[in-house]
């Protein structure tokens, strides 16, 4: 075929590919209430135990997953700090996706139900000695008192303690004699997409254990849920979370767990 015909053939080939690809793409995702999702949900229900974590991948399919299995997902689990405390994780995935919550784990079982894959993971969970979110009643504050919120931080749900410090004035939230294990792990972020848009400065959090800074984190408006951690000596200790911001209206949310 002469080279001068190549552009025409290329255009025809691209058009042919597009017709096929567009039609394939439009039907590539299993129907939200179709047999594949129902079979996958049935498999999870058959093996589910209280305390298991169910996650969906990719993240954008989460509404469909919650429609199928949301009754097995308490709000506290959906709005978890992280997945470390869960020993059994069910991952329901399409398009070969993986959830960040199963990163690095190898599935103990995997079944493809017509394009919806159910993977089960088993691991040794983190043992939580104390959860500051659950111990809000024991906390003291030298400024505004934190509130327990189900907040949007980084476009994800998180149960967290929210403080709105006055500009330039730090707020110290103290947990006297908090039981500690070998590690204190927490996260901090800025709640509410609209205040993140309108106020662009970061929030900062220091963790003091027995009066000394053990960990720090800065959460910028586009940073989402920022992890911090400190090695700790097992046993009770005075722990304080010191929060500050330079601008008004900064909704700083944090959560932390002392882990064995």
């Amino acid at each position: 075929m002469p080279i001068a015909a190549a552009p025409a053939l290329l255009l025809i080939a691209i058009a042919g590919w597009e017709v096929c690809a567009a039609r394939r793409d439009a039907t590539a995702v299993p129907a939200a209430d179709g047999p594949a999702w129902r079979a996958a949900a049935a498999e999870v229900r058959a093996g589910f135990r209280p305390g298991d974590l169910i996650v969906f991948a990719p993240g954008w399919i989460d509404p469909v997953g919650r429609m199928q299995l949301g009754d097995l997902i308490p709000i506290e689990v959906a709005a978890r700090m992280d997945a470390a405390r869960y020993g059994r994780i069910w991952e329901i995935a399409i398009r070969g996706a993986r959830s960040p919550d199963t990163a690095g784990l190898a599935p103990a079982g995997s079944e493809d139900r017509g394009g919806v894959v159910v993977r089960r993971y088993q691991r040794d969970p983190a043992v939580v000695v104390a959860d500051v979110v659950e111990r809000l009643a024991t906390a003291t504050s030298d400024g505004p008192r934190p509130t327990l919120e189900l907040a949007e931080v980084g476009f994800s749900p998180h149960r967290c303690l929210q403080v709105i410090p006055a500009p330039g004035v730090q707020v110290r939230i103290a947990f006297p004699q908090l039981p500690l294990g070998r590690e204190l792990v927490g996260y901090v972020g800025i709640a509410d997409v609209f205040t993140r848009r309108d106020v662009r400065s970061p929030g900062r959090l220091d963790v003091e254990i027995a009066g000394r800074i053990a960990a720090s984190a800065t959460a910028g408006v586009d940073d989402g849920w920022v992890r911090f951690a400190a090695q700790t000596a097992p046993g009770p200790a005075d722990v304080a979370f010191v929060v500050r911001a330079t601008d008004p209206g900064r909704r700083i949310c944090f959560a932390a767990e002392a882990r064995r």
């Binding site: 255009l11 042919g16 597009e18 567009a22 995702v29 009754d71 749900p157 997409v193």
Partner: protein, 577 residues
């Protein structure tokens, strides 16, 4: 055949178009307008559309009152209909041309002819989209022949996102149409006619539709100066003048004054048209124009998801407009446009008025501001839609050239006659088929759709591209909501509708939801009052999910509306209290 050869001598190019060719343009325009009208019936009512509809009805009432002598022109009456002290009073931040047409259409087509209210309000946009097809067809017919004209018109009609926007009572598709009308008017004015009024009037109407037309003079000005520079380069040295002063005068006459009437048309008739169609400018015009421009120069940055990140503050990535265009125009159309661009570049001096340069500058002016990183990106392609006619025209030129080249090559290789029209039709048919398939798949949720290049709607979701905006997907949830109508037996059921709240009354008037389903109101108070709740999925609307979880005590929606498998609306029902 080298690129650039052959295309100029298209079927019908070079001679005046025949009656059949002209009729074909009108037929394509009518078919496009009908396609838009039919398609919009499945498209939900956009949040901002409601504002424009309401404002349009006030504007239309004012004009009718004026021409029927029920009132005169007074500051009080103009302010009551078109303005007010607040920056968004009577939607005065947007000029009135399309809104006025929406309002007039509602009176005539809905009130007079009984067509449904939403279709009547959207009809002017649909007609203008048909007109755009006609204008594109006409320009291409004159320059590159009938085959290219038909292909350009068809590919323009089969742009999924443009078709979607053309079915809304909004400004974006009409702005594209009137922008192109101004480009075409300018182009025609360059032929030396005595009264090139079309350029100025069309630009004035474009300005009266959307502020983005303000950048069009950059394209037209650059083209005008380029033509002048080409003319100056071709001027014999002895004709440039003997003295330095004479050379300066000759230069100015050649480069700046070569078609001064077109420039005068734009400079005089453009602003004058804007002034005449916008009564709000009739009093305190400087102040009101300044307010108009200030509103858009300081426009809030709405949330927009792009490549997996929510953007609501500059600096934005420089490539937003380019990548978004790449995945929201059918790939086949784009590929043909690349061929067409090569043809243009290779044959750039073929036409004395450099039409390809003009079209390229038009696209560049439209898309250029979004490369700066500071221009709001939240509306995505709807803000740079005037670039689309250029892409479709280039695609048509590319398809015709490729068809001719293939026919010639096969003929030479096989010594058999291969009819050029057949080869062109085969290629154009394949490209149009691909565009039609993409369009069929995209509608009515075209904002969720991405081309095969991205992997369709699921591929767009994987890439973290914007899911939708304006709450239009609510339309797909209405039958499911209606089926839940008895959530609270014996009385009205309140629905938390968030972004669809402004459209709720229209949905009820159109009979799409029972009148027992009431809008619950905004935010937490609305959720607390509601028994049903919807979340129209956008990344920054996840917050609505969490508010509902907290109030309803469950994370489980009872239904999820999807487009090609991608969630676009979740529907929650409050468990028994």
């Amino acid at each position: 055949m080298s690129p650039g050869a052959g295309i100029g001598a298209g079927i019908g190019a070079g001679s005046g178009p025949g009656r059949a060719a002209k009729l074909a343009g009108w037929a394509l325009a009518a078919a496009t307008a009908i396609l838009v009208v039919v398609n919009q019936q499945g498209v939900g009512i956009a949040r901002d559309e409601v504002v424009y509809m309401q404002a349009g009805e006030r504007y239309a009432a004012w004009w009718i009152g004026l021409v029927s002598f029920r009132h005169g022109i007074s500051r009080a009456s103009v302010t009551a209909a078109f303005g007010g002290p607040g920056a968004t009073d009577n939607n005065r931040e947007h000029p009135p041309v399309m809104k006025t047409l929406f309002g007039l259409s509602a009176r005539l087509v809905h009130g007079g002819l009984g067509v449904d209210e939403v279709t009547a309000l959207r009809l002017p946009s649909a007609i203008l989209h048909g007109a755009l097809v006609l204008w594109v067809y006409g320009m291409v017919l004159e320059l590159w022949g009938a085959a290219a004209a038909v292909i350009a018109a068809v590919l323009l009609a089969l742009l999924p996102r443009a078709l979607f926007h053309a079915g809304l009572a909004c400004f974006d598709a009409p702005s594209m149409a009137l922008w192109f009308a101004a480009v075409r008017g300018y182009w025609r004015g360059l032929d030396g006619r005595r009264w090139p009024w079309q350029a100025g009037v069309a630009w004035g109407l474009a300005l009266g539709t959307k502020h983005t037309a303000l950048v069009l003079p950059f394209a037209l000005g650059a083209h005008y100066l380029a033509l002048g520079a080409i003319a100056w380069r071709g001027t014999a040295p002895e004709l440039r003048g003997a003295s330095r002063a004479a050379r300066v005068r000759a230069f100015a006459r050649t480069v700046i004054g070569h078609r001064w009437r077109v420039i005068a048309s734009l400079a005089v008739l453009g602003p004058l048209t804007l002034y005449l169609v916008w009564p709000w400018l009739w009093f305190d015009p400087v102040h009101h124009v300044r307010d108009w421009l200030a509103f858009h120069l300081g426009h809030v940055h709405y949330n927009y998801e792009y490549l997996g990140r929510n953007w609501n503050a500059p600096p934005f990535p420089w490539h937003v407009a380019l990548l978004t265009t790449l995945v929201t125009v059918p790939a086949s159309t784009l590929a043909a446009a690349v061929v067409g661009a090569v043809v243009w570049i290779a044959g750039r001096t073929r036409h004395a008025r450099a039409p390809a340069l003009l079209l390229a500058l038009s696209a560049a002016a439209s898309i250029g501001p979004f490369l700066l990183g500071t221009t709001p990106i939240f509306g995505a392609e709807k803000h740079w839609m005037p670039a689309l006619p250029t892409i479709c025209i280039a695609a048509a030129v590319g398809a015709v050239w490729a068809g001719r080249a293939a026919a010639g090559a096969i003929q030479r290789a096989t010594a058999r006659r291969v009819p050029e029209p057949g080869a062109i039709a085969a290629i154009a048919g394949c490209i149009a088929l691909a565009a039609a398939v993409e369009t069929r798949i995209a509608e009515p949720y075209a904002l969720t759709w991405y081309s095969a290049l991205a992997g369709g709607a699921p591929g767009g979701a994987d890439l973290g591209m914007n899911r939708q905006f304006w709450g239009v997907a609510m339309r797909g949830a209405l039958p499911r909501l209606a089926a839940q109508g008895g959530a609270r037996p014996g009385g009205p059921t309140y629905v938390y509708t968030h972004d669809a709240s402004p459209a709720w009354g229209i949905y009820q008037r159109e009979g799409l939801i029972p009148r027992t389903l009431l809008d619950a109101g905004w935010e937490q108070a609305g959720i607390d009052r509601s028994d049903l709740a919807v979340v129209i999925h956008e990344l920054h609307f996840n917050r609505h999910d969490y508010l509902i979880w907290k109030a309803y005590g469950t994370v489980r929606p009872i239904d999820v509306v999807t487009s090609d498998g991608v969630p676009i609306v979740s529907l929650y029902r409050r468990p028994p209290r």
